[in-house]
Symmetry: C2
Subunit: 295 residues, 2 copies
């Protein structure tokens, strides 16, 4: 366990460094809130700068570095990924979906700016993400992103998540929801980083498998934290999964088996890394970070 802690500390530092640079780019890529329509631009910026680990940009950058990527175009991808993640959070938090008023200790977009503005701010972030990624003049990342996000990806996971609320679900359904809702975009972040560095198709598929494992682990840990943490620690309502009757791992297999599941996924992820060329220590440390994180 001591090793895990050391790696987590390393990943934490790495992610902070990437986040710092990525956030400078978010600021450049987002419309200034002095531009019309001001309220919309303010809402977009509010949600993008409401905190967060910037995990997806960090993963994209780590994969980009691993495959020898050097140019500045990766920052279009990191901005696009965080915008797409934020878009999904804004829409997920809406009263007609998850109805969450707080996230990361701050009011959610619809609570602060009204529902209509929140819907449109999410839309605008999604569209801007595609505009930015198109500026890299590579088509593969756009297709990777769109597949990860669409009705066979993240959006598919979100709707199934709502539809299963309050229902008794089996493990296959929880797997489906978690893979689509969370792992798909984490997977895509790594793939895009690799694609931007012109990694081989084979290597892109390998980082995808790594991403799937840590993406699922991430969501299992999220499920566990919702139970064992306080609202202050989470920055959002603790225990809300159970209250809403959400399909989670702990609800289906119990807390201890969920912890084991997260650790198994971590080991699976580490095993996949052995198939990749070069120094994969950063990715390995991020995997450790994910299973030991306390948000």
């Amino acid at each position: 366990m001591q090793n895990l802690e050391k790696e987590t500390a390393f990943a934490s530092k790495y992610l902070s460094q990437i986040a710092k640079k990525a956030e400078i780019k978010f600021n450049e890529h987002l419309p200034p809130s002095t531009d019309v329509p001001k309220n919309l631009h303010e809402a977009m910026r509010y949600s993008m700068f409401a905190g967060g680990k910037r995990l997806r940009p960090g993963l994209a950058y780590a994969a980009f570095e691993l495959f020898g990527g050097k140019d500045e175009s990766i920052w279009y991808a990191t901005s696009a990924l965080e915008m797409l993640h934020t878009f999904s959070l804004i829409h997920d938090d809406l009263p007609c979906i998850d109805n969450d008023d707080y996230r990361r200790g701050k009011e959610t977009a619809h609570k602060k700016f009204g529902e209509g503005t929140a819907v449109l701010a999410g839309d605008a972030l999604c569209i801007l993400a595609f505009e930015l990624i198109a500026q890299t003049e590579k088509n593969k990342p756009i297709q990777t992103l769109a597949k990860a996000l669409g009705s066979y990806g993240m959006i598919g996971g979100e709707i199934t998540d709502i539809e299963c609320e309050g229902k008794k679900v089996d493990l296959a359904t929880v797997d489906y929801i978690h893979y689509h809702k969370t792992a798909a975009l984490i997977e895509a972040s790594l793939m895009i980083g690799a694609q931007m560095a012109d990694a081989s198709e084979k290597d892109v598929l390998t980082v995808q498998r790594f991403g799937k494992a840590i993406g699922l682990a991430f969501q299992v840990v999220d499920d566990i934290l919702d139970i064992v943490s306080t609202t202050e620690e989470l920055g959002k309502d603790a225990g809300s999964d159970e209250e809403k009757g959400k399909a989670t791992y702990p609800a289906v297999i119990g807390l201890e088996a969920s912890r084991q599941k997260a650790f198994d996924l971590y080991k699976e992820a580490i095993a996949v890394l052995k198939e990749l060329p070069g120094d994969t220590s950063v990715l390995q440390s991020i995997a450790a970070f994910i299973i030991t994180r306390v948000n």
Copy 2:
């Protein structure tokens, strides 16, 4: 006026022909509703097949033909355009935005499938549109689309439209709203058709000016129809603009001046066509169709 009627009839036939082929492609490009998540896919299909003139696919195809485009890739663009238009309608109709229960004589998506599903079906259509357009392996159309749609385009128009409800606005504001909310995507449809046929940058900018004029004309006519038509003719609540206190041309300059405005924009559009090479009679007829349409 007789000439206008003849041209309108011609355009009507042309648009129907393109719509027929475009709809076959929509069906191919949309996920089957037998695929999980079924409810989401059903909602996407319901809204895509709820009728409509398929004006944007028709315009894209006409521009594509004008510049000698021949290959099948244009049908990715026509599907993408109609999906983006549908995405905007679904979100616009939401209770938190325009709160419309009927469109084209049918229940709107949120009324039929619930609000959460409607938000996500709109999102999924938007994302799928970018996936399809990326399959053309051209980057310019993606950037054209994203710019036309984002916070400086359609979404910017939509939010300003909501924010101005019930307020006294000036002509410049109505121009801003109508250009962004409606004309931007019509303009982009023509530009993308031209870009897909590898038209010169100069010609793309010329069709853009044509698109801006007919796009604005389209929205002015829409404003007029909302006043002079019955609910049956419109397929949605007639008189709803006035009821909601919407910023429209008739509200600001009166009905007669609005009719004149639409006709002036038509003449402007026709004048722009003279700058284009080749036979522009199809585009000319569509301009006539737009100002004489009764929906």
